[in-house]
């Protein structure tokens, strides 16, 4: 089926979205043009505005349209804790867990030596500045539980040591609601290794 040029261009453009193949692109485009022109107009404005205005927080590299993101701008947060995450999505996940009240730093990637992704690509200069400023007492390394995530954590851990800042790594273990039988062996190994004391009743 051949579409008119503008429609075809729209279909191609929509496919830059994750999870959108030719079929879903077609469904989205036809829906907007057929049933929801208002929604289409709103999408156009929102996308143009966001693409133009949203940049990176000058302190933590989170996406924001202000100079500081809401977390960095917030006054009632613990300045002594700095949590390092790989992506904005990870920051949102930690934030939604509700258990953390410190600040963040977003790497926008992780160490991947074979792809040439090193400290420069991860904004480590900016992180150094913050560690150097002296208010951070603990660097919480919340990079992913992959070998690259571990390598990243190990490197940032040594960076923290260089600045006399304590570094901690988030725990790996059995997920909530998880039965041991179904937990993979390497996770279980980690869970046993980093077991914690039980409070007596």
């Amino acid at each position: 089926m051949s579409f008119s040029p503008s429609l075809q261009e729209l279909l191609d453009a929509l496919r830059c979205l994750p999870g959108v193949g030719p079929k879903s692109a077609q469904r989205m485009a036809l829906h907007l043009l057929e049933k929801d022109r208002e929604g289409a107009a709103r999408l156009v404005t929102a996308l143009a505005t966001a693409a133009e205005r949203v940049g990176l927080c000058t302190r933590c590299r989170m996406l924001t349209e202000q100079e500081l993101c809401p977390v960095c701008a917030a006054t009632r947060r613990d300045d002594t804790l700095l949590c390092v995450v790989e992506s904005p999505a990870d920051l949102v996940a930690v934030e939604e867990s509700g258990g953390y009240r410190g600040r963040y730093f977003v790497l926008l990637g992780r160490l991947s030596p074979l792809d040439g992704i090193g400290p420069a690509e991860l904004g480590v200069d900016l992180l150094r500045e913050q560690l150097g400023a002296g208010h951070v007492k603990e660097l919480v390394l919340a990079t992913s539980a992959t070998v690259e995530g571990e390598a990243t954590a190990a490197y940032l851990g040594s960076l923290a040591t260089e600045f006399g800042v304590a570094a901690s790594r988030i725990a790996h273990g059995v997920p909530m609601g998880g039965e041991l039988e179904y937990v993979d062996s390497s996770t279980l190994f980690r869970a046993i290794e980093s077991r914690t004391a039980v409070e007596s009743v």
Binding site: L111, P113, L114, G118
Partner: protein
Amino acid sequence: MKAERVELEAAYILHARPYRETSQLLEVIGRQHGRQGLIARGARGPKARWRALLQPFRPLHLSWSGRGTLYTLRNAEPAAPSAPLQGRRLLSAYYLNELLLRFTTRGEPRPELFAHYTAALAGLADADNAEVPLRRFELALLTESGYGLDADRDALHGAPIDPEQRYAYQPERGAMPVERDGDEQVVLTGASLQAIAAGSFHGADDLRLAKRLLRQLLDHHLGHRPLQTRRVFAEMRPPS
């Protein structure tokens, strides 16, 4: 082209990169089949299969099938727990992977290299000095690639190497007897050359010499494209 099917081959993942929405493109080295490119479908995302398994440096048994140059991963099973690599040693292991990727091509069986790689990972995990397994692997890689050190005869007259004599080792040519140290070349005694070629390093001086010599040879054969891992490691050193 004939369809191929490989069952539970001992293998390591050398490199993984995201492919399409939920898949990964793996570069692996298998004991019998050498380096292969595999697509691991559905290996990313919240419900990913084999998520904990498909990591570098973990001994695996992999099954794959397909035709052409890129196969489909069918099954992955753990062969042993991951080598406990941390910190600098973990980074060194990435260096090994990059060397293997640069010195091998897909589909070429390299059982000896696989064995050297396995030994090097074990060495990185256990050895008191992590430099030793690294140098041994570099040496083995050069030898297996046909660029091994010639520590028997000099390159000038073909005379037997004299342990007391000083030599400048030149890539492609070999040990050239010299009277004094040159500016850029690595100069070493016949005895040191023989020790390095035999993979026996005694003390920090031998290791430093071996590092310089092997680096010079590796660089020569790597050509103009520098190693990414080396650049990244250099960036990671604290500014002095």
